[in-house]
């Protein structure tokens, strides 16, 4: 009996390739092209607006591929703005702490002061600056937009697309998906791997039967889907996403069963979700045994919506062989101690799963960089990876033809 579960595929797959020559893609010269034509042109996530609720709250964010430091701040007028973290006088770094809440920023070098809206408000010994026009000397702003509590920037001085155009059909499909959530974990690791390979590792579920056996042996699939095929898989211009099949016969461990009984089901238990509350982009096919979605947003951003939690992951190349990985997890707001304790358990389970994912990435890079294989050979279950390279090639070509 063939009891393989069938994946519902959606989107234009005509330009996807299941054979991807790979060695040249992880070389230094190729990386320089990616920086110039992808990272300087694309909309890029720089973090969560959930960190910036109060007026004046700010985060300093490094963007390694562009060797840039940014200040992301909620200005006095309530709008989130993003500035180069560089004093307009002689270019020293303006804000040195990682985060905080301020009305204004003062440079340590010569004490020039800027408001949290970026305006230059104070110049020491100002009469000695001939032709000083403070109105023209505010912090240099970077194009930014906030989508569903996620802050995006675009380093192109005139972005060819708005964020809404860039995200396309998904822009309106996630309304409120992150509402009433708070950040409950924020992890960073730096790996000796190529950023493409790191993103790819989170864009398929084919691996979970094999590398996650230590941590979540039975969370997906189940008797009706032993190979754990994706329930739904869709590719688009700058995104691709899938829905995972939760195992209805998942056996809770003792602590998990006890803790979730006094809270809500969370990773790795996927039962009794009320789908009516989900926006249309989350579990788009309304698959009944839904576990979670994974959505890749080109180039380096992955969102993992679930019913009672979600995660965001982004992958900054530091160089062709080094990648900074950020993973943030969010839980539903609650002031009940048992909810916070259950969320802590879910964070831990997810973190240990992540450590299994991370374990493949450095040896994967070494193998690819060695030239030991001529190309990647990808399955239909790995279409998000196929789409990643299709989209990257489109960006490399389009930016090159300008």
């Amino acid at each position: 009996m063939n009891n393989d579960s069938i994946t519902v595929f959606k989107g234009d797959t005509s330009r996807l390739k299941n054979v991807i020559p790979i060695q040249e893609r992880v070389e230094p010269n190729f990386y320089q092209q990616e920086v110039a034509r992808i990272f300087k042109k694309a909309w890029l996530i720089v973090g969560s607006a959930e960190d910036l609720v109060e007026i004046g709250a700010y985060k300093v964010v490094d963007v390694p591929p562009l060797k840039a430091s940014l200040v992301v701040v909620r200005s006095d007028d309530g709008k989130i703005r993003v500035f180069h973290n560089v004093c307009r006088h002689r270019g020293d770094k303006l804000v040195h702490d990682e985060h905080g809440c301020k009305k204004s920023f003062t440079c340590r070098f010569h004490a020039w002061t800027y408001s949290n809206s970026g305006a230059l408000t104070g110049v020491t010994d100002s009469t000695q600056f001939l032709g000083l026009d403070k109105d023209k000397m505010g912090l240099v702003e970077v194009n930014s937009e906030v989508w569903e509590n996620i802050v995006f920037v675009n380093f192109d001085k005139k972005p060819r697309q708005t964020l809404k155009e860039w995200l396309g059909p998904i822009y309106d499909q996630y309304t409120g998906f992150s509402a009433n959530r708070i950040k409950i974990a924020d992890h960073r690791v730096v790996l000796n791997t190529n950023w493409n390979l790191a993103v790819n590792a989170f864009c398929e579920g084919y691996h979970n039967l094999y590398i996650h056996k230590n941590t979540v042996p039975d969370y997906q699939g189940g008797k009706t889907n032993p190979k754990r095929h994706r329930a739904y898989l869709e590719v688009g211009d700058h995104f691709a996403r899938y829905s995972a099949h939760g195992n209805p016969n998942h056996k809770a461990t003792p602590a998990e069963g006890l803790l979730y009984k006094h809270s809500k089901p969370m990773f790795p238990a996927f039962t009794h979700f009320n789908m009516e509350d989900l926006p249309p982009g989350v579990n788009p096919s309304r698959f009944a045994q839904w576990a979670f979605d994974i959505m890749h947003v080109v180039p380096n951003f992955v969102i993992g919506p679930q019913a009672n939690t979600h995660s965001i992951m982004f992958f900054w190349p530091i160089d062709h062989n080094k990648t900074d990985i950020r993973v943030m997890r969010f839980g539903f707001k609650s002031d009940r101690p048992s909810d916070r304790i259950a969320q802590a358990h879910s964070i831990t389970r997810g973190r240990e799963v992540l450590r299994e994912d991370l374990a493949t990435m450095e040896t994967n890079y070494q193998g690819v960089a060695s030239g030991g294989i001529p190309y990647l050979f990808l399955s239909e279950q790995e279409q998000l990876i196929q789409n990643h390279y299709r989209a990257a090639d489109d960006l490399l070509r389009d930016a090159g033809s300008q």
Partner: protein, 113 residues
């Protein structure tokens, strides 16, 4: 001196070692004990956890008095260190895991992490 609510005085002996106030501290702790040592904590906490949760839920997180707060941290450590025993690992870590000490813990907004 008692640091836990009297109802949970049997857990007093775990407070100094296990009532830890951050995810990072709890993660570090897990990787500095043996599985046998962890099991003593696990075996003592597991049968009491339901009562702990119901007791703590009389309060809002932000209003927990000091002794209840200590109990909360003990429960948080249980929640974050139960998995090696729950999953029947042979050690506090599993083979081929990405090295635990390469994790960097950043700031979170939850009232208590």
């Amino acid at each position: 001196m008692a640091t836990l609510p009297s109802k949970f005085s049997d857990l007093e002996r775990f407070v100094d070692e296990w009532a830890l106030k951050s995810e990072e501290a709890r993660f570090n702790k897990l990787h500095h004990v043996t599985l046998d040592h962890l099991r003593i904590f696990y075996d003592a906490l597991l049968p009491r956890m339901e009562e702990v949760l119901l007791y703590l839920n009389q309060y809002k997180i932000q209003d927990l008095p000091p002794e209840e707060k200590t109990l909360f941290y003990l429960a948080m450590t249980f929640a974050e260190t139960a998995h090696p025993i729950d999953l029947k690992w042979e050690d506090v870590d599993f083979p081929d895991a990405y090295p635990w000490d390469k994790f960097e813990f950043r700031t979170v907004s939850a009232a208590d992490n």
